[in-house]
């Protein structure tokens, strides 16, 4: 995809000098990152690198030990609980498994934020919900419960729910995990279409290198608590950094070791029963 937007666009989200330790483990260390407005940015990296942590910092579920997380100029980590609630009303978040409410129908799931946060008449809510469900191709499933739909469809309903309040910022946490190729293709197209149609900023946490090329304007790779690459996906292939190469080519061994750290093979086999 040609990089028509490049990094000249104004940043919507800015991480400045962000460090975070969780459970005694350093996840992010003095991380700096600026995510531009109106584009789709993919966040990639090995498992446990802190991709989802990055999303949780943007949503205000986590606070950094040091540094600031700025969204449209507002420091999310300094917001009061009340201000954080107002801020979250402008966010759309698609969680890994969709997180639909199993005791509500698809229609009621999508209607929930509208009923909670607006005083719109039920007739208007109905129109908005059906419109959102139509966007994700599931208007006909409005009356069904999440258990009656496939995993991919559940995630599309969750996407419709995330879009219900017309957010300016959409966050997707591994939207393609466990999807078949058809569902993956649908999700891919939807994320891109919705971003362009509504002029929002989208951040997609994913492992899927191939899909990122079709989806994102730029990709950011995180490893060892830092951003090790931030560029349009097609140029990442040429990045000389060994970790970027290992990730992009899916090599089993490299800077991220195949074997879990432990004693040497000789020590384990020759030194008797240690386990």
């Amino acid at each position: 995809m040609p990089d028509t937007h490049s990094q000249t666009a104004q940043p919507t989200i800015q991480f400045s000098d962000v460090s975070l330790t969780l459970g005694g483990r350093k996840i992010l260390e003095k991380l700096d990152l600026a995510i531009p407005q109106g584009q789709v940015t993919a966040i990639m990296g090995p498992s446990g690198a802190g991709k989802t942590t990055l999303l949780r910092l943007i949503t205000g579920q986590l606070k950094p030990d040091t540094g600031r997380v700025l969204v449209n100029g507002t420091a999310v980590n300094e917001l009061s609980p009340k201000a954080l609630n107002s801020y979250r009303k402008q966010l759309g978040v698609l969680l890994q498994n969709g997180a639909l409410f199993t005791d509500l129908t698809c229609f009621d799931n999508v209607a929930l934020p509208l009923r909670e946060h607006t005083n719109l008449p039920e007739s208007l809510i109905k129109n908005i919900v059906l419109l959102k469900l139509h966007t994700v191709g599931l208007r006909g499933a409005a009356h069904l419960y999440p258990r009656e739909l496939s995993g991919g469809m559940n995630r599309r309903v969750a996407m419709a729910r995330a879009m219900a309040m017309d957010p300016q910022l959409m966050l997707y946490d591994e939207p393609f995990a466990g999807l078949d190729p058809i569902s993956m293709g649908i999700s891919l197209r939807l994320i891109r279409q919705v971003n362009e149609a509504l002029g929002m900023t989208s951040i997609v946490v994913t492992h899927d290198v191939h899909e990122v090329r079709q989806l994102a304007h730029q990709a950011c790779i995180i490893a060892n608590g830092h951003v090790i690459a931030f560029a349009p996906p097609e140029t990442l292939q040429e990045d000389p950094e060994p970790l970027v190469q290992q990730f992009m080519q899916g090599l089993p061994d490299g800077p991220v070791a195949f074997h879990y750290p432990g004693p040497s093979l000789e020590a384990d086999f020759l030194d008797g029963d240690q386990h």
């Binding site: 579920q61 966010l91 978040v93 969680l95 997180a99 199993t102 929930l112 934020p113 909670e116 946060h117």
Partner: protein, 246 residues
């Protein structure tokens, strides 16, 4: 010793948060009614069945014992007093914990595991308002209602045994009971306790679900903890309340 105390402290803080965030304008009446149905109405089968058999066996044992002292007439009084003051509220609360408490814990624990609580938070909908408060209020209302039904069924069981099995006069059975049982001192005493037990059972069920680890093992452990903690707490609270009320 420290761990249970820490857990108790956390449960108290959790309850404080749930109550402090309660606003009349945001009370979810529809959801609360639904929870009363799930926790209360759906517990009716176990409450009705257990109540009837508790009444049967209690009357059987009481008749057998009192007959040795020539005081078989007092059986209905013993039955009513032990039911209204102790057995009704305590057994109902423990049965409620086993039937509805575990279900509340498992439901909230699974909501945690499947990120539904996170989703509410991220939609700026307070999970305390939407999930916790309706279940607390439902427990407060459902348990006293279930206690009344349990007592009623136990009395029916008692009458059935005394009249149809032992061949006693039903008028004397009811008459002796009416002469000795007082509304305020006995019936309302037990009903007052049941409000406390209902709140306790719902609180512990919601708390253990809320704090469950987001794994299948975590949810299983949380449901077990609900039953154990509720049974012990109800019996301790029963002693404390009885000591103050008598």
């Amino acid at each position: 010793m420290i761990k249970p105390l820490q857990e108790m402290g956390k449960a108290v803080v959790f309850l404080g948060q749930a109550i402090s965030r309660m606003r009349l304008t945001s009370l979810q009446f529809g959801e609360t009614l639904r929870q009363i149905y799930y926790a209360g109405a759906r517990s009716l089968v176990i409450i009705v069945t257990c109540g009837f058999f508790v009444g049967l066996v209690l009357t059987l044992q009481t008749y057998d014992t009192l007959t040795r002292f020539g005081a078989a007439d007092a059986a209905s009084t013993v039955l009513a007093l032990s039911l209204f003051r102790e057995l009704g509220p305590v057994l109902t609360a423990i049965l409620f914990a086993g039937r509805a408490g575990t279900s509340i814990t498992a439901e909230i624990g699974l909501m945690r595991a499947t990120e539904q609580l996170d989703a509410l938070d991220l939609m700026a909908i307070d999970p305390m308002e939407r999930i916790v408060q309706p279940r607390l209020i439902a427990g407060l209302i459902a348990v006293p209602a279930l206690v009344i039904i349990f007592n009623m069924m136990a009395l029916l069981g008692g009458v059935f045994f005394a009249v149809f099995v032992m061949g006693n006069d039903p008028m004397s059975f009811w008459g002796n009971m009416q002469n000795s049982v007082e509304l305020g001192r006995d019936f309302l005493h037990g009903l007052g306790k049941s409000i406390g037990f209902g709140f306790l059972a719902a609180w512990l069920a919601v708390y253990f679900g809320w704090s469950a680890k987001a794994t299948s093992e975590g949810v299983a452990l949380a449901t077990t903890q609900t039953v154990i903690a509720t049974a012990i707490s109800v019996l301790v609270l029963d002693f404390v309340l009885s000591a103050f009320m008598l």
